[in-house]
């Protein structure tokens, strides 16, 4: 058989093959699509974000497409074009340029932490491409929106408000140490906590910046123990959170209340500390901010979590990044519906009008005032829940009262 495929035969069939491929391409083009670029840290040190979030994003997009796609565009299907930025901000900018100029995407979404957001900003403004970041603490470019917590009214205010609110549960906080990871977001949150805590009657007795390169935080914990503050408050990266808790366990220190962000409320910390250390330090005097908690009194969040667990092909437990990615998909859907066009400027204008009210089945995050972007292109309502761990590794929401399952355990 093989000898039948002569060079002449192949050359003779080439025009036919070309026409056939062109026809197939035309048929594909007839099925309307909206190309959305997805920049994820698929490799590198931030890859846990994409491992947790990407399956949820893909599941939701598949679901949106199966339910008729973008109706204002005649049922156009969302097509995700995925790029890996290798967890390096410079690569984020490079991948954005590729998605925009090579793949001609209508908008970009992605994990995009603050450094990635800053790196991508000149590019998205240059090409005027609406971009939605899942985690950035700010939105520098005029075409960039973020679902993350702003440093001031997101992270710092939530932690300061909760520290102040502990007084309502007979655990008045008078003194605090600010212990943030010494990186971009940590320095910003420290700056805001410095003013917000005294406004709530809490005296800042010291600042203990946590070195992001350190292998051990015993020295930091020794300093904290010597100061014996009522609370140790700060934003940290997972690694610093884990090392600080290891040091706390090593010193058997339980005299302060620890208040932090997602590293304190993510399952990863149990995995890293192990069950014994975890039980000793995580279930005592420790509270973390959370976008998601299994027990939160938010029906849409619980339904989504159950659905993702059963059909979502997740690679890990439902976590903060899972819910954040799912919410991104719903914002993207609403923006595209409002735009009714694949034009970038139309989508940019539509993002300004996105509004998912409280109680909407598509609102998965704990946002009592619904989800809409303010003039700074960050969520208007940026509050978060505070949670505590049980010995069975389950989270309980303790604040704010709207979502709380129980009282803070101190």
């Amino acid at each position: 058989m093989a000898k039948n495929f002569t060079r002449r035969a192949v050359l003779a069939s080439a025009p036919g093959l070309y026409l056939a491929s062109k026809g197939a391409r035309r048929a594909y083009a007839q099925e309307k699509t909206v190309k959305v670029g997805v920049i994820q840290p698929m490799s590198g040190n931030l890859s846990p974000y994409s491992q947790e979030g990407q399956p949820a994003l893909e599941y939701l997009v598949k679901k949106i497409n199966a339910e008729g796609g973008i109706k204002s565009m005649g049922g156009a299907k969302i097509q995700l074009v995925i790029a890996d930025d290798a967890s390096q901000p410079a690569r984020t900018a490079s991948e954005a340029r590729r998605l925009i100029t090579q793949d001609d995407v209508s908008m970009i979404v992605g994990t995009l932490l603050s450094a990635q957001m800053l790196a991508i900003s000149p590019v998205v403004d240059e090409y005027k491409v609406p971009t939605l970041a899942m985690w950035a603490g700010g939105a520098r470019a005029s075409y960039l929106y973020s679902l993350g917590f702003p440093y001031d009214r997101g992270y710092a205010k939530t932690m300061a408000d909760f520290a102040g609110a502990l007084g309502n549960y007979d655990h008045k906080i008078n003194t605090a140490v600010i212990a943030c990871s010494n990186y971009e977001a940590g320095q910003q949150v420290t700056k805001y906590l410095r003013t917000m805590l005294p406004e709530r009657g809490i005296k800042v007795v010291a600042e203990v910046p946590l070195d992001t390169q350190a292998q051990d935080h015993t020295a930091s914990m020794l300093r904290i123990r010597s100061l014996k503050p009522d609370a140790v408050i700060g934003l940290m990266q997972p690694r610093e959170g884990i090392l600080l808790m290891q040091a706390r366990y090593g010193m058997n220190y339980h005299d302060s209340i620890f208040i932090g962000n997602s590293p304190y409320s993510d399952q990863v910390i149990w995995r890293e500390l192990g069950p014994d250390i975890g039980k000793a330090v995580l279930t005592r005097n420790l509270f973390g901010m959370a976008s998601y908690s299994e027990g939160a009194k938010i029906a849409s969040m619980q339904e989504l979590a159950a659905e993702l667990r059963s059909k979502g092909n997740l690679k890990s437990e439902v976590g903060q990044a899972t819910i954040q990615a799912a919410q991104t998909a719903r914002i993207m859907q609403q923006a595209l519906e409002l735009a009714g066009s694949t034009e970038r400027e139309a989508i940019n204008q539509a993002l300004k009008k996105v509004n998912i009210p409280f109680g909407d089945p598509n609102l998965y995050l704990a946002r009592a005032e619904g989800l809409a972007f303010g003039d700074d292109r960050m969520p208007k309502d940026s509050t978060s829940m505070m949670v505590q761990w049980n010995a069975d590794r389950k989270l309980e929401v303790v604040w704010p009262d709207l979502y709380a399952q129980t009282k803070p355990r101190v």
Binding site: A86, A90, Q187
Partner: protein, 340 residues
């Protein structure tokens, strides 16, 4: 300057390649032009580093400090004090030169071995990053965000992709010419003599301190200028990129794989590996994340095992053998360091 540099610069193939590269903005898509611009940045860094490490045999792991000074300080001077970035670039380059001279003096004063010198420069790199992250003037951990580019050359604005390609193209060519000139002037011979045997070089009258300082200062200034140029191109100056010791390690890899101590080695190493890595990640990053890291690793192992002197010297040797050509051109190939 000896005839070697003229032979190199008079080679029509060199000018043909240069002309072809200069036309890239006319036919490359913005994405690939961006990749080419990043590659040129690394080419410039690798060539600058090559002066100290390849020609003079001082394995510096601290060049990220000079890049950080070039990128962060010039940007901070613009943003915080309103100092024009051209002047900022000159100030940063001058400070880099002074720091470079100090490091070279340390090396001379304490007669550091290769390992000690590498470790001391690595310590400088680590301190540099900590200083950058801890300094509010330099933007702290948040880095610095430069104002939008309006294409005003007087304000060090080059008006988009094409402009920045030509800026980095010119800067990297300056680095190439600097290598070429050094290799073919008495300084190059002194540096190579010092690299091969410092005591013997001193015995025949080579001024160790003076030459070490000159080499390090030239290298530091060029690295700093590359840092400023890349900072303006990227718009966001991230201390974890600009002052990261990882940059030094990347540059070492590029130059070593291409061929340490040669002019074309760092150019080929950085040019190929950066472009290849970017394209592989761009094409397969979504489906096979991390593939580019894996391929990079395999390439490094293969080159080190099969071409221990680097790709360019191996190729030149092969070419010479095959064509029984004229003696080796010192501008193209030089011996690998032998000092231990």
């Amino acid at each position: 300057m000896r005839s070697g540099a003229f032979r190199f610069l008079g080679n029509p193939v060199f000018w043909l390649v240069l002309a072809a590269a200069a036309t890239m903005p006319l036919w490359l898509s913005p994405y690939y032009l961006g990749v080419a611009t990043i590659a040129l940045f690394y080419v410039g860094l690798a060539l600058s580093w090559n002066i100290v490490a390849g020609i003079a045999g001082q394995l510096s792991l601290g060049h990220s400090v000079f890049m950080g000074i070039g990128g962060l300080l010039s940007s901070a001077l613009l943003l915080k004090l309103g100092i024009n970035m051209w002047l900022g670039m000159a100030i940063a380059a001058a400070i880099s030169a002074v720091l470079g001279a100090f490091i070279a003096w340390l090396d001379f004063r304490f007669r550091l071995s290769h390992l000690s010198f590498a470790l001391i420069t690595l310590a400088f790199a680590e301190m540099g990053q900590l200083a950058a992250v801890g300094s509010e003037f330099l933007g702290g951990a948040s880095g610095l965000f430069l104002p939008a580019d309006h294409g005003s050359l007087l304000d060090f604005e080059f008006g988009g992709q094409r402009g920045y390609f030509y800026l980095l193209f010119t800067a990297s060519m300056v680095c190439l010419v600097a290598n070429l000139v050094i290799l073919n002037t008495p300084l190059g011979y002194y540096l190579r003599a010092m690299r091969d045997n410092e005591n013997a070089a001193q015995a025949i009258g080579v001024a160790l301190l003076r030459n070490k300082i000159i080499a390090m200062m030239i290298s530091a200034v060029l690295t700093s200028i590359m840092g400023t140029a890349y900072a303006r191109y990227s718009g966001f100056v991230d201390p974890y990129q600009f002052a990261s010791p990882n940059v030094s390690v990347e540059v070492v890899l590029f130059a070593t794989i291409g061929g340490l101590g040669t002019v074309l080695g760092p150019l080929v190493g950085a040019g190929f590996l950066v472009v290849f890595g970017e394209i592989v990640r761009g094409q397969f990053g979504g489906t096979l994340p991390g593939l580019h890291f894996f391929i990079d690793g395999v390439l490094i192992i293969v080159v080190i095992l099969l071409m221990p002197r680097g790709v360019v010297p191996t190729f030149v040797e092969w070419w010479d053998r095959r064509h029984a050509a004229a003696p080796k051109d010192p501008g193209m190939i030089a011996e690998v360091p032998t000092k231990t």
